[in-house]
Amino acid sequence: MTTHATGRTLGSTLGRPPLALVLPGALAAALLVVPLVTLVLDTPWGSFLDQLGTRAVRDALRLTALASAITVVVCVALGTPLAWLLARVDFPGRTLLRAAVAVPLVLPPVVAGVALVTALGRNGLVGSLLRDATGWTIPYTTTAVVIAHTFVSMPFYVLSVEGALRASGERYDVVAATLGADRWTTFRRVTLPLAMPGVIAGAILAWARSLGEFGATITFAGNYPGTTQTMPSLIYQALQSDPEVARTLSMILLVVSVATLAALRNRWLTTP
């Protein structure tokens, strides 16, 4: 007997679903689905390829692809060790640090941008030191785009990997130690392979977050075509002058988002 069959039998014997639940439910579904459908309908498919070929669009596409790819690499390279520290090392302030890592998840992106300016801006705490020492400033550069993307994407990655590390537990670390493995070997050969599903899910989440990033980027890096103008920034700009371009670009991001969701399907969309 499967739960599926049970559900079906119960559904037909327990009576109709009440309107008090059906109506608001349908309204919620409409609110979520209708704009997506209209976006698809309003996309200027005739000129779709022409739009893709314009310099502004190509630059924004290239920059978005580049920034999101580097963001994922930085998240994996720096976020994996951070997740391991949070999951495995009992250091003072660990709870506090874990809370701090999660803050960008709920922080309005514009606020994230302002926060980045205070730290890395021309007159920011770290930014001014950097400027005095090297003459180099970060804001309004492609580097700033990557930093803003990393800032908002990293928490998704770290929390996903930390969860996977906690789920696989310290048990196998102990086994590896009794077999003479040092912690680095254990991390490489045991801990990381066992946490791989979390690493992959975290990387996809971070990448998706980076693709759509707008608020922190435009605040910290500006909106300069070719250097800091990503897809969302271009959409924002085009919406005022050329709505067709905005829809074309939006369509591209929608397709990418749906593809991301499909990649994560096994993790989240399958009901238990």
């Binding site: 196998y172 086994v175 590896a176 009794t178 077999l179 003479g180 493995a181 070997t185």
Partner: protein, 336 residues
């Protein structure tokens, strides 16, 4: 508590000399010479697993551990710096590695080259008769096969100390029996020290040179399997080997459950070996029925199925138990 029947290792020489103190859980001295197999038995919570984990360095320890003349506790050695093999109760095979890579893991982490580690791992799998399963992942192995891989993995780096935590727990009886015989063979050719935690008297009797009985974190008895089985000093071991043991002021009395006479009326004769109580449970035991009787202590008695029916020996029934003087073995309280 003195180590009575086995000649202990001399300090600084080969073998294990450990004084294991884990506050609130364990206070035990254990010694063994190379090649010796020590079975650690005792009831749940007696500190058996804690003893193994303390030797491995997995729990904080007061006291000392010395293996083959080198101290593991002064200065403290990390777990990975101790020459040990640990067979965990749940096997704990690395789920993402093949049987071969699991067995080769300890060799690889101790710096053996990949090809040589693989060759040695194949040899070990072959000794356990499962080299044809070398490429399988743990989830593709049966319980018995997985436990063989786990034991091979622990033995492959040739550790000084092999710690086995209930290696047959959770296996089918038939599988456990086959594996017990195999393990006996491997332990016979193993020149390190093996400590085997077990719940099963059979393990202790068939595999061990020495039995160490833990009770409440302390060593209640050590001796050869034969000695411990014949003269148990704790209720737990008495139960394990199927004996009744009664502790008097200065001695133990033990007798077999088959020597117990069960009657409804008060028996005549010696007052010393009789008890009045109620039947707590009755269960088939071989050809007989084994009764657990709650008198001033719990006693076990074997009766025939016919007698069970005739006397109406169901739980709750009040009965008298008696034993002939000649069936009772008396031995001194202190270490022999």
């Amino acid at each position: 508590m003195a180590d009575d029947t086995v000649t202990g290792p001399s300090p600084g020489g080969p073998g294990l000399v450990a004084d294991l103190r884990v506050p609130g859980r364990l206070d035990a001295r254990v010694t063994a010479v190379p090649g010796e197999v020590v079975a650690v038995i005792g009831p749940n919570g007696a500190g058996k697993t804690t003893m193994l984990r303390a030797l491995a360095g997995l729990v904080e320890l007061e006291g000392s551990v010395e293996v083959d003349g080198a101290s593991w506790t002064d200065p403290p050695r990390l777990v990975r710096e101790r020459s040990l093999g640990f067979v965990f109760q749940d096997q704990s095979l690395f789920p993402h590695l093949s049987a071969l890579d699991n067995v080769a893991f300890g060799l690889r982490s101790r710096g053996v080259a990949r090809a040589r580690a693989a060759a040695t791992a194949h040899e070990w799998l072959d000794r356990f008769g499962i080299d044809d399963l070398a490429g399988r992942r743990p989830h593709e192995l049966s319980g018995g096969q997985a436990q063989r891989v786990a034991i091979a993995r622990a033995l492959a780096p040739a550790p000084s100390l092999l710690l086995l935590d209930e290696p047959f727990a959770g296996l089918d009886v038939g599988v456990a029996t086959a594996l017990r015989l195999e393990l006996a063979r491997h332990l016979a050719s193993y020149d390190g020290i093996a400590l085997l935690v077990t719940h099963d008297a059979l393990d202790a009797l068939t595999l061990a040179d020495t039995v160490l009985v833990l009770d409440g974190g302390r060593v209640a008895q050590t001796g050869t399997p034969h000695d411990v089985a014949a003269r148990p000093r704790t209720d737990h071991v008495a139960r394990l080997v199927g004996l009744n043991v009664i502790r008097d002021d200065d001695s133990f009395r033990s007798f077999s459950p088959s020597a117990v006479t069960v009657s409804l009326a008060q028996p005549e004769g010696s007052a010393r070996h009789r008890w009045h109580g109620t039947v707590l449970s009755a269960a088939p035991h071989g050809d007989a029925v084994r009764l657990l009787v709650g008198a001033d202590r719990e006693l076990i008695a074997d009766v025939t199925p016919a007698a069970t029916a005739e006397l109406g020996l169901v739980p709750g029934r009040a009965v008298w138990l008696s034993v002939k003087e000649t069936a009772v073995q008396t031995y001194a309280l202190g270490p022999t």
